[in-house]
Every structure is written in C-alpha cells, then in structure tokens.
Symmetry: C2
Subunit: 347 residues, 2 copies
DNA sequence: TCCCGGCCAGAAAAGGATTACTATCGGCCC
DNA sequence: GGGCCGATAGTAATCCTTTTCTGGCCGGGA
C-alpha cells in the first residue's frame, strides 16, 4: 500500500505538502502542487492510514455501541440508528454484545480503550454490580481524559442517560390504557431487579396503578430474565401464585417478555385477549408480526441511536449538549381488549 | 494515558524490556525485571496502544462484517456468530449495514482498508453490479496484499463463498417436502434477480420441481425486494396473474418474504394453511413466533458466522483452509399443510 | 534601497510499540 | 588464560501522518 511519502515523491513535493492536500488542511498549497498530489494519489490508489493518523490524534474514527445482545431486535435497531448517523460522519461502528456479563463488558471497554475509539455508546441498561463497574469506570475515566465521548442511552450506575426515554411514564401510560379498557387486576412482568431500566419500569407500573387508584399487589409482579424464556416462566410463576386467577391483563417491562408470555399462554390454552390481555414495551419489529399482534409502547429506537451518536459527536466537538428525553407512545394492537375470563382459565 | 516508556521508566528498565514483558514475547527477560515491569504496568493502569501496535504490524485486531441490514434477524444472527468467535480471539467486530447499496459498501470497505482491519467477512450476497464491484475489489486486493483475510458467506461476483450453505439443495428439499404434502401448484417468491443468492435459490426451486416431475411455470415466480414489503407485493402480483388461483403453496427465497406474504394473506382473508401453505427459508428467530408459525428451512446462521471468523483467523495464521458447506434442515411448522382452497380464495 | 508581510514549501519532531542488532557479563572449554 | 557461548539488557530504526517551525521568495510601502 502506498504511503503519503510515495505520493509526495511521485508528485515531486514534500510529504508535508502532500499531507496538506489529501487531508484537506486549510494550510495554503499552490494549485499546481495540489493538482500533482491529487494525480499521484489517484495513480497510486492512495488511502491514508487511519492508524497513523489516529496515533497522532489519539482517536480513531470509530464509535462503539455496547449492547446486551445484537440479535435482540431492540438493540439491533439502536445500533442501526447509531450507524446511520455515524457513517454519515465518516465513522465506523463497533458493536459489542456483552450478554449482560460485566466481565465481558469490561474486557470490551478495555479493548476499545486500547483502540482509541472516539466514542462509546452504552445502549443497554447498566447492572447494579459495583465490583464490575469499577474496572469499567476506570477505563472510561481514562478515555474521557483522552477526549473520548461516553454516552448512555439507559439509566446506569452513574445516573441518568444523556439521551433516553421516560420509561416510567411509558409504562404508566400503558397501565392507564389498560385501566381504560376496564382492567383492574393487572400483573406486571418486571424482568431482573439488577437492571436499572427494569427498576424504572417497575416504578412506572406502580405510578400507573396509583394514578388509577388501584392498590399495588406484590404477588402480581413476576421477576425473571429479560427475554422470551423469562416471559414464559413468569406466566407459570404467576399462575402458581395464590390469588392471581382474576388477573385480566399482563403488562410487561419489555416486548420479549410479552412475546414469551404469549407463547406460553397459547400453550396453556389461555386465550389472548379473551382470557387475558397482554401488553409489551419497546415495540420491536416482531411485535407487529405475532398473532395476536402485540399491544405495546413504542420507543423511537432508531432515533435513540441516531441521537446517541449525535450527542457523542457534539461532545467530541467540544460542546456540552443538554440531555435529551424522547417521547413514547402507546400502541394498541390485537393482544389487548376488554377484561376476559382471566389468567386462571385455560387448561 | 501511560505509555510503555513510562512503564519502563517506573520499572527501571528500557522500553524494549517492558515491551517484551507486556506483549508476552518469548524473548528472555529475567524474573526480577519481569516482576518490576508488571508492577509498574498495574500501578500506571497501562493499556497498550493498539494503534501504535497496528501501525507496525499493519493490522489491527478488528474484523468487519458487511451486512445488508443489521436489523434483519438473519444478519444480526450471523454477526453474533462472528462476534462470539472473534471476541474469544481478542478481536472487535465492526458491522456495516450497506443497505445493498454498492456505493455505501465501497465506502465502508475503503474505511476498513484505511483502518487496517485484519479481516472482512461479507455476510450478505453480492450484487451483480460490475461498476460498483470494481472499486470494492480494488480495495480488497490491496488489503489481501497487506495480509488481511477476506471471507464470503454467500455467493458473490468472485465466485463461491469460503463458508456457506447449499441454498439450492435447501430450497429443493422444501419443494420436495411440499410435494410430499400433496402440493403440485407451488409458487415461488424469488426476491431480486440481481442478488446472487436469490439466483441460487431460484435454481433450487427449479431443481425441486424437476425432482418431482412438475413443469416449471414462469408465471408462478414473483420477483420483488427481499423484505417484508416484497413478500406482500409478491402476493398481490401473483394474484393479479392469470392462472394462479389454483396455487396451493408458496415457497419463499427467505423468511422475510414469507412473513410479508403471511401478513398480506391475512389481510386478504386467505387462510394459512387451509387456503395456501406458506414456507420460508433461513429460520430467523421471528419465524417461530408468528401465527401460524412459519415452516422454513433452517440455516445454522450463528454457526455460519462463527466459521466465517474461524476461516478468516486461519487465513491470518497463514493457513489455506478448505471451503466449508453447512447443512440445512427443513422445519415444518404450522404454516404448511395439505393442499387447501388455493390462492384464489379469500376476499 | 531596505524592510516587512504574505504565501508557500520543506525539514523535523512527535505519537507508541516492536524488533533487529549491538553490547555486556559470567561461565566454560581447551 | 583466551576465546566463545548463552542469557539479558539496551539502542535505534521503523511503521505513517500531522504539524510546528524555519526559511525562501516576491511585492509593496517607506
């Protein structure tokens, strides 16, 4: 591969001049020299070495997105949003699936630090795990000191996200919508307690109940993993609990839980929504494809990613942009309806 | 951020010695010096600069995956497979959504070249677009000459993939399975003609018909985009064609097409499978979640990604691994059954 | 005529790590 | 005792680009 030196030699100028031309510096270069350099660069198929450049600038045009799992439609959508904005700005996007494993996450962040990534966007919620967060925070501090931008899209140990959605308000709105349909016994699939975002959503559930003057009943809250399997398990847990037969609606902290519940309910012969109504949260692309199609709360995921990059970009430019909070929207599809026969029905 | 020089100074040794310790070279270093260097590195929170290292080695521990769209479950699954294998080997994964736009793809490859990515894995099928492929090929040639590994997981302009599946055999097997259920009039949603993989799958459809001694009928083949919208459109196209009312099964070149068809058929009031049977291809995670759940051909997508990285890794190690072909498997779910009332039924 | 400012070109240093090469020292063989 | 070898340590070159600094040259003002 040709280097700037070879381009300079072919063009009959110094490396400095060649560099000024190809990197579009505003240092003045005569038109003649400029043309010769451009010709030489084309001739040699010159592509600048981003590593050499990065070594000097202590930053390489790469933004990383830390997700829990790239195959989760929630995260792939966010990553796509980051990528749309980032590629316009000439950045590449690294995606890291941490599987919610703090050790993996830490080793990713270390690698990103060693690569001098310009920015790190944390798409997933942080975990409440002090020991693990310590190492991550050490790396992040070093990166920040070095000029990198760190952006969170979900609540985390360090506080609120720079760009995010109002999770509590979103869930509360769904609870209110369910109440509007006539439901009074509404269960909640809460996901894991260690996840900050899950806590916010649980708080939203409580707030929604409060707004409807319905008493909070701990027995109606199922805490499981944040995925399909967790949703199925939650249904079983709920049904095994005393006093849940009269539940007519299940509100979920995310779509995957709701989808898992849907599958399990179908297997159990509980109709949806004529037995129980089921609502999700996130509006991942699959939600509209299931049968019955899933009522949920739409999060502008791609937009979230786009704004996440934009926030990072402005930070890199030395600005101090204000935090952003995006609006959510309740989307009622076929999985919710008037109160039915209840969770206790079916086989 | 501390450099190796500072570590060396604190340890009271030369940079060379410090480097030999932290990079685990097999050059002999006394136990005493080694311990002092390790202590100093820990003390200074030293993390080697991957750019400096990469500048020297002309390669950075990054593997890129070129996909059409990371939000397509097919691709996110493949990317995840690459990542699983790559992160074990200490690599980061860059994903690039080209949107099947050759210009975008070319600019991504250029960026990867400038970054000295160690490997590029093309997850999606190539497009038959000579002009666009020329620039890409120029960059790839330079990267290969520089020691990078290029791996394709789908057929492309340059020929067969290094790791891939037998698309034709997979589709043919599904056609045979449909024939086994009693179908004789089987339509095919082919996707775009310009996509190499779509051509292979169409060939598989013809081969399957041939095996069942059914004449190929061009009117039963719908060529559209490779996504949900394409599937819906294909149903409309088919229904607008003379002589398709008797079609009892729709075989699709990928799951997204089949899912789009499913949605459209539901809207049209054509039952599945009692009106027509619908079959997909790929077995993306959504396929099992729809209603009716989608019969399809399972591709080991994650495994494909894993092996793609492994192939790249072995190439980087100087080996010349043999191409791999992975087996596919017909998965019959609820969207297929005995021949029904036909595509012409419904509203 | 002399000096100064503007324009442009180039030399050289810096950024961080690796490695080929050189150097030192103790010990061993003849 | 001289020469040589093995084990370590260090020096310096190298990867490629950017940028600061120096300097040449030309035109214009005093």
């Amino acid at each position: 591969m040709a280097s700037i030196t070879e381009v300079a030699r072919l063009a009959g100028v110094s490396a400095a001049t060649a560099s000024r031309v190809v990197s579009e510096s505003d240092y003045p270069v005569s038109a003649a020299a400029r043309a010769r350099v451009l010709d030489a660069a084309r001739e040699l198929d010159y592509v600048p070495n981003a590593l050499a450049r990065g070594l000097l600038k202590s930053r390489v045009p790469v933004v990383a997105v830390i997700v829990h799992d790239i195959t989760d439609p929630y995260f792939s959508e966010v990553v796509r949003g980051v990528e749309d904005a980032a590629s316009n700005a000439g950045y590449l996007v690294i995606s890291c699936s941490s599987e919610r494993d703090p050790v993996r996450e830490a080793s990713y962040v270390r690698l990103l630090r060693s690569m001098r990534a310009a920015a790190v966007v944390f798409a997933g919620s942080g975990l409440d795990d002090a020991a693990a967060n310590a190492e991550i925070e050490r790396h992040l501090a070093a990166m920040r000191a070095d000029g990198a931008a760190i952006v969170h899209l979900s609540p985390h140990a360090g506080g609120d996200p720079e760009v995010g959605v109002d999770n509590a308000a979103g869930i509360a709105a769904m609870v209110v919508a369910l109440v509007g349909l006539g439901h009074r016994r509404i269960a909640f699939l809460a996901g894991p307690e260690t996840l900050f975002v899950a806590r916010e959503r649980l708080a939203g559930y409580r707030r929604g109940l409060e707004a409807a003057a319905i008493a909070y009943d701990e027995r109606l809250v199922a805490r499981t993993g944040f995925d399909l399997a967790g949703g199925a398990l939650a249904v079983d847990l709920l049904r095994a609990t005393e006093g849940t037969g009269s539940v007519t609606a299940i509100c979920s902290a995310n779509d995957l839980l709701a989808l898992g519940a849907l599958q399990r309910l179908a297997a159990l012969g509980v109709g949806v929504p004529d037995g129980v109504s089921v609502a999700g949260f996130d509006d991942i692309s699959t939600a509209a494809l299931t049968a019955p199609s899933l009522s949920t709360v739409r999060l502008p995921l791609r937009e979230l990613g786009r704004l996440g990059f934009e926030q990072a970009d402005r930070r890199l430019a030395g600005e101090e942009p204000a935090p952003r909070r995006l609006a959510t929207e309740v989307v009622l599809r076929a999985s919710t309806g008037m109160p039915g026969t209840g969770l206790g029905s079916g086989r």
